[in-house]
């Protein structure tokens, strides 16, 4: 008799437990994220948004003040706007990534800018030999001082054409400085322009 009572109690508690678990599962709030409403933030948009947000929401205090006033005024529209603020703050880590991306792209721009200046300077003094119908290529390694002075250069991969190689060496000997380097940050200089290569190409005069 006693056993039967205990078994039925066990069953009862088990049922209660199961039901409570099921209820608790359904009671977890569901995140309502619609794919169509999500937007991707590009780094240039972040820049704009950053500026915008600074203008619209100058400080947290001001925001809270505004929020309070809106509560006081019982303006439902303003409450909706305030509710958007925390969403924006959630993306801060994303923003950090984007900012580092911006920094990288700025560095890349600096490298490209200086590379283009170097490219133009070499092109203005390199007298290419005439009538090179073959596609030739030669590489020159350059060692620069932070002042832009060419400390040394060496043709590491000469082409098969002697006059092509001679013309490159003649051009290189006309240069002693790359003053353009001076505008670069030291870190960028060390990483990219301390040692760099010039790849001279003759795509042929008749292409």
């Amino acid at each position: 008799m006693m056993n039967k009572v205990l078994t039925s109690l066990n069953t009862f508690f088990f049922v209660i437990l199961s039901v409570s678990i099921i209820f608790s599962l359904f009671s977890i709030p569901k995140l309502d994220v619609e794919e169509t409403k999500s937007t991707r933030v590009n780094f240039y948009e972040v820049m704009q948004q950053e500026e915008k947000s600074l203008k619209t929401y100058p400080s947290n205090k001001k925001l809270k003040k505004e929020a309070n006033s809106t509560y006081e005024n019982n303006d439902k529209r303003e409450i909706d706007n305030i509710s958007k603020i925390p969403k924006f703050e959630i993306n801060k880590s994303h923003l950090k990534n984007e900012i580092s991306k911006i920094k990288l792209s700025r560095e890349r721009k600096d490298i490209l800018r200086v590379s283009t200046i170097i490219q133009n300077r070499i092109s203005s003094i390199w007298i290419k030999p005439n009538s090179l119908s073959d596609t030739l290529s030669a590489k020159v390694l350059i060692n620069l001082a932070p002042s832009g002075e060419i400390l040394n250069f060496i043709m590491t991969e000469p082409s098969t054409n002697k006059s092509f190689n001679d013309s490159i060496l003649s051009a290189m000997n006309k240069l002693s400085f790359f003053e353009e380097i001076l505008v670069l940050e030291r870190k960028l200089f060390e990483e990219n322009f301390r040692n760099f290569k010039l790849v001279f190409k003759s795509s042929g005069e008749i292409d």
Binding site: K128, N130, F164, D166, F196, K197, V199, K201
Partner: protein
């Protein structure tokens, strides 16, 4: 030692980090500047010999506008030997190369020994030196040899200052002259004069003969003229008219156009066997043949597609290939010495200009800016094209370097100049 450390440093850094590479494709539009220093002379030799040699070398190297020269008045010194040569004197003047030399006497019969040196000022090294023995009567010839060597050292291309040009002068309406001259227009020789038109001269590979077309007997007839004896011989081909002769690179045969009953086709004529071999057989006009450098193919003009276009035929298999498609006029094709590209007359909107094209590519590059260009011929080193063009009714010879940096016209003759043909190099 410093260099070794530098290389080791580079190798290490190369392996550890990736190195920035900057690509340089475009070269400068400037020309190399050369200082032609008057050659020094030995005590018992006329001073004018030294200045004449440097003047002739200067004239040669500046002939096609490929270099710039430093004015003699600007020179800080006139060194004639390496001991007296200071690089800084030339570096400050923006000079790229400097040529110096000295004339020494060998005997009392006018034999001279001329030593010369070429310096690369930017690299601060002597890149050429040599000595030539010759006679005082042949200073121009000696200068051409020095010019060729200097040109080859600077450009990597064979010097062409001892090559010749054949051309036709039409001095008035009924006088035609077949002429040859040095490439600078000097030492002109008239080979043949006729009241009937003369056209299409072409040099034999040994430079001893010239083939050309003459209408002296009423029809187009091919003659081969020996340059030393002046003797002329007609090719006894069987057709009604024979024209556009072009010597094969091995000198054994001539490609030509023979017209049987008014339909011109391309044939090969064996000089030794005096036999004709037909290459093309088409109702369209096939004309203006020219050999590939390896003698395996012939380029020709044909209107078989409805307009003049360039075709290539294999002389063995006789397989044909159309080479041009852009424009409604592409004619008078010739191969570059490397055989990879062609140059020709390209007609577009009433303008006829000299153009080039890689055989494997479709892209046509127009070289000239004049509008009535014809008969292009290329220097044996493949760097300069000379062509006939017109200024009003007067025909003259224009020229252009392939990099387009220099355009020039050859000295005017007494009459209209046409049909230039550049001689091969002397072996």
């Amino acid at each position: 030692m410093k260099k070794i450390f530098f290389i080791i440093g580079f190798l290490i850094s190369n392996n550890v980090f990736s190195i920035l590479e900057i690509e340089i494709l475009k070269g400068s539009d400037n020309l190399s500047k050369i200082a032609f220093v008057p050659f020094g002379v030995e005590e018992n030799i006329k001073e004018v010999y030294g200045s004449k040699i440097s003047k002739y070398i200067q004239e040669n190297l500046l002939l096609f506008g490929e270099f710039e020269n430093l004015d003699k008045a600007e020179m800080l010194s006139y060194p004639s030997s390496e001991e007296d040569f200071y690089y800084r004197d030339w570096k400050v003047l923006g000079v790229d190369y400097s040529i110096i030399g000295k004339v020494n006497s060998i005997n009392s019969f006018g034999s001279l020994s001329i030593s010369y040196s070429l310096f690369n000022i930017n690299r601060r090294i002597k890149i050429l030196e040599g000595e030539i023995v010759g006679n005082e009567d042949n200073l121009k010839g000696i200068s051409k040899i020095i010019s060729n060597r200097v040109y080859e050292e600077i450009t990597g291309l064979k010097g062409i200052f001892d090559t010749k040009l054949a051309y036709v002068i039409n001095s008035n309406s009924d006088t035609y002259q077949m002429c040859i001259s040095d490439i600078d227009g000097k030492n002109e020789q008239i080979l043949f004069t006729s009241s009937a038109p003369i056209m299409s001269p072409d040099w034999s590979p040994d430079r001893k003969k010239i083939a050309y077309v003459s209408f002296e007997n009423g029809l187009a007839e091919i003659f081969i003229q020996d340059l030393s004896s002046g003797k002329r011989e007609s090719i006894q081909a069987l057709g009604m008219t024979n024209s556009a002769p072009v010597w094969s690179p091995d000198g054994k045969s001539i490609a030509l156009v023979v017209s049987f009953s008014g339909n011109p086709d391309i044939f090969l004529y064996s000089i030794r066997k005096k036999r004709l071999i037909r290459l093309t057989d088409h109702y369209g006009i096939d004309t203006e043949p020219s050999w590939s450098p390896d003698s395996k193919k012939i380029i020709f003009t044909s209107d078989r597609s409805g307009s003049p276009q360039l075709y290539e035929i294999n002389t063995q298999s006789k397989r044909k290939k159309r080479l041009t498609r852009d424009g409604n006029y592409n004619a008078r094709g010739r191969y570059f010495p490397d055989g990879k590209s062609i140059f020709f007359v390209h007609g577009n909107n009433g303008r006829f200009q000299i153009a080039t094209k890689k055989i494997t590519s479709r892209y046509i590059e127009t070289l000239t800016s004049t509008s009535l260009d014809e008969s292009p011929t290329i220097s044996p080193n493949g760097n300069i094209i000379i062509y006939a063009t017109k200024n009003g009714s007067n025909g003259y010879l224009g020229g252009i370097t392939l990099d387009g940096k220099s355009r020039f016209s050859l000295p005017l003759k007494n009459g209209s100049v046409r049909e230039p043909a550049w001689s091969p190099l002397l072996n």
